[in-house]
Amino acid sequence: MTCAFSSFMPDSKRIRLYYEGDDDRNVLEQMKGGGLLAGNVEVAKRRKDCPGREGMVQDLAPFVGIGGRAVALTDLDGNIIESLTKWFQNTLQAALAKEEPPGTINAQERISDRISTFACTSDQHTGHVALIAVGLPEDEEIKSSQIDRFAIDDYLLRLARDPQIYESNPDLCSVPYAGCMKKLMEMVQLLRQNDIPIRNSKRYLHFLRAITNFRPSSAEFAGRLVGKAIDSTGQGRLRELFSPLLEDLQIAIKQLSS
């Protein structure tokens, strides 16, 4: 498969992607394996004892401290971008201060609506981080599903709802597409009628896994869903499905490489 980013590699130094959890990791690894990420991008491993977004910052701080360049993918959840950026800045600043030699954030720039970059310096090095807020708050289908906690799962739901991707996925297609979608909405409505909130895509995906009898973990589901989508869909359609995440990654990587 052609690398979508091959024209944006002025610097061959490696850039690492940090993320919140196992679902994100599997999505990113599939994207990397499918050639959707530039060759100099690698997906970081995460420490099991440092989970979540707080742990992500703890994991990336030593890397930035040695002058590394990182992209941090953080779910928008129910935040506004400004508060998420402020939280990231404060948490990163605190983590850098604990490094030896201590580091500090000495520059911040808003690159786009969803991307901010941070330059972090210590006595020895200057590292760079691009923060990308992940989720689809502007997506009409997500809005109509009454989802207001945004995350990488929004993309997974979008993939699963695509008839072509659904039908070509052997993990799903044992249940006909139309029946699955009908049952999915019935489950959501039933829960809502009983005052049980369904505010994020992850819950939709849990129901989808139940309907299709997919037994492995949600992370495995995420990885397989993206992998099958990449195998069965053309580059153009994939860009649409992963928009704006792919564009955001492209912009962030270009910025970090310059």
Partner: protein
């Protein structure tokens, strides 16, 4: 306690300019081939060798490096790009005292005059020792050090270390008048050189270390001949002994197992440790200092700390 704190090198071998600061008790130098690890060790040795001492078995340190390089320590090849029109300048900070070496002229300078007014400095510099993989087979080590080891009753701790590192049941070590060094088990004995390479190298390294006090011990690739399992225990024995004898360690290695083993061992010995990743770019030495915690996090998140130049 005397400690090497920093070194500044100008125009020595492949290094046009470079500084390494904040050496710890246990220091690991890592980096690609030709990144300057051995040059740094040689530079430290050269400055210290100007104090006139030799290593515990009487070898002049500059001679050891000359043997490795197959060249004279002060010959044309010592100069950056073999350009003798510009002098070599090496400065080390030992315990807050700056000691310099310039070539040419070969002269020693110090912020203290004369240098010998600081006995601890002379003691430190005079006894710096180097252990290379090839020294694991050097019988001179037991031949020259054994009487001293017996006097200090260090033979028992060597036996204990040998048994711990390799799971052996050695009862005693013995040097015969014909210079045969025997490893004695309950009902038989065998010459040391019949033992495996790992045991021979480890025992000779520990013998060398046991003769040191309040100085610096430079180890080149201590992982040589060692199985990773033994390496952990060997590192533990080295760090424990170094701590007891107030010996600072400088370890040049290519092995991530070695880095892990010595960081773990230094933690157990409550010694401060640091990893220095060296990168040489057009003669400019860049040394990134990493704490054990940083190494642990970087390794756990998939960064091989030996390859930091891929990222920064």
């Amino acid at each position: 306690m005397a400690r090497l704190k920093s070194i500044k090198i100008q125009r020595f071998r492949g290094i046009r300019e470079g500084v390494i600061r904040d050496f710890a008790d246990v220091n690991l130098l890592i980096g690609r081939n030709n990144s300057g690890k051995s040059t740094v060790a040689e530079a430290i040795s050269l400055v210290c060798s100007q104090f006139g001492g030799g290593d515990p078995i009487g070898r002049q340190l500059h001679g050891l490096w000359a043997e490795i390089r197959r060249t004279s320590p002060f010959g044309q090849e010592a100069f950056y790009k073999q350009d003798q029109t510009q002098p070599i300048h090496i400065t080390v900070d030992i315990g807050g005292v700056t000691v310099s070496l310039d070539m040419p002229p070969q002269a020693i300078k110090s912020t203290e005059t004369p240098v010998i007014r600081k006995p601890w400095l002379t003691e430190f510099a005079n006894h710096v020792a180097v252990f290379r993989p090839i020294d694991g087979f050097d019988q001179q080590i037991e031949n020259k050090l054994w009487p001293q080891i017996l006097t200090k009753r260090a033979d028992k701790s060597l036996v204990r270390a040998l048994n711990e590192v390799f799971g052996l049941k050695v009862e005693q070590l013995q040097l015969l008048p014909n210079n045969r060094f025997l490893v004695l088990f309950t009902d038989f004995s065998i010459p040391l050189d019949v033992q495996g390479d790992g045991a021979r190298a480890a025992l000779r390294c520990l013998m060398m270390l046991s003769s040191l006090q309040g100085t610096l011990f430079i180890l080149e690739e201590p992982e040589s001949h060692q199985h990773p399992g033994s390496l952990d225990r060997f590192a533990a024995a080295i760090c424990r002994q170094a701590k007891e004898q107030d010996v600072q360690l400088l370890i040049c290695t290519q092995s991530i197992e070695c880095v892990r083993a010595f960081l773990k061992a230094s933690k157990e010995a409550t010694s401060e440790a640091a990893v220095f990743h060296l990168k040489l770019d057009d003669g400019l030495l860049d040394a990134t200092r990493l704490t054990p915690d940083a190494v642990e996090t970087l390794q756990a998140t998939g960064v091989d700390v030996r390859l930091l130049e891929l990222y920064a």
